[in-house]
Symmetry: C2
DNA sequence: GCTTTCTTGTGACGGATTTCACAAAGCTCA
DNA sequence: TGAGCTTTGTGAAATCCGTCACAAGAAAGC
């Protein structure tokens, strides 16, 4: 989130930012910002704050965003299609260089120079394209089987949109985007008798 | 996540489940499951486990999912369109009964019986449809202004897909879905010199 | 009815994370 | 140059959260 704020500050041509200002924009506290950043080094100047462009470069480097990552999209349904066009992935260095789908009617279509490949060739597609991270937008019931094949192809990062918990080896990292769970959390916070929870914590 | 697992177990016609089994499927530990559930009551039977259908009902009630919620989609772009069709929202009781977009070319289109309304009528649309939760899929730079109007319309829950931190009053709950941040977290975990972090914690 | 087996509910512990608070450092201006 | 103001970096304290471990409840077998 700090990187997102720094992107914004750089567009606004701000040259420095204090931990307090960074905290305000990122939705946290000044002390938290300083603790977080100090884990990776001393980037600020006392009395002044943090210089925006260097801190942004530092954070990009810390996050491993200095180069670019080769990403495959598995599942060319509505959500997959929307993500394929999502501009922020490329802006941050994630290039979707392969698309795979199980539906024969979709295989062979070309999306912006990328040809949709059949699911039964998943492993060879991932290996030959040198894929490092996969975005998984297949239906829940199919997700675990696809994830197994993805792992077998040597991929160690999965961004999972399927509403199931994937079981993968320890050296594979899965991050879930679970939109339904987020909505349900809103429901919990808003349900009629939730007022006391808000008051008492 | 427990509710998701219980949905699954009920489809499989399982009648009871132990904290251990629930933990396996939800990706956590048995002790964690018991602590979490015990916060809201004693739902299990010692020696037996939890009865699936009643626990599922309990969780749905705790989460405020007993009835249904009226939801508006603001932003009819690619992501908005994908979410409109996403079946799991309706399955869990979230009905998208209004769609709003700023683009005159889209206003007036009908999506599955819902007519897209113009952004300048946001407040009246939200109020007259009795909207309780909003899904925000507008571009980042527009998000705060739209959120302000949403809050002014009395909505107290926002599912925010814009990659910015929204500032809202304390009685409004915002949940963020930040796909780019999730990818960046994968990048951090996978970047070449990340091996030592994994080993040492 | 009694023993065995299973599994919950929960207090105690310990590790992790956040907040607090302040010395040290840098800038500005006289 | 030095006083005053600002803001970082970081130990210490406080808080939060997950894990452990076990007493007690419930069923099953005999």
């Amino acid at each position: 989130m700090y990187l997102r704020v720094l992107d914004e500050l750089e567009r606004e041509a701000e040259t420095t930012v204090s931990s307090q200002a960074l905290a305000n924009r990122a939705g946290t506290t000044a002390a938290q910002v300083r603790k977080d950043l100090s884990l990776f080094g001393s980037f600020g100047k006392r009395g002044l704050g943090y210089a925006v462009p260097p801190l942004r470069r530092h954070l990009r480097s810390i996050l491993g965003l200095s180069g670019s990552w080769k990403v495959a999209l598995i599942g060319a349904g509505r959500i997959g299609a929307a993500l394929f066009e999502y501009p922020h992935f490329r802006e941050q260095g994630f290039e979707i260089v392969a698309v795979v789908d199980q539906d024969p009617a979709k295989v062979g279509s070309v999306w912006n120079d990328v040809t949709i490949q059949p699911a039964d060739q998943l492993e060879s597609v991932l290996r030959s394209a040198g894929i490092e991270i996969v975005i998984l937008t297949v239906p829940g019931p199919a997700a675990q089987a696809v994830a197994d094949a993805v792992v077998a192809s040597g991929v160690r990062g999965i961004l999972n949109f399927a509403p199931v918990q994937l079981r993968v080896p320890d050296d594979v990292k899965v991050n879930d985007v679970n939109m339904t769970v987020e909505l349900e959390a809103l429901s919990f916070a808003l349900k009629p008798d939730a007022a006391d929870r808000r008051a008492k914590g």
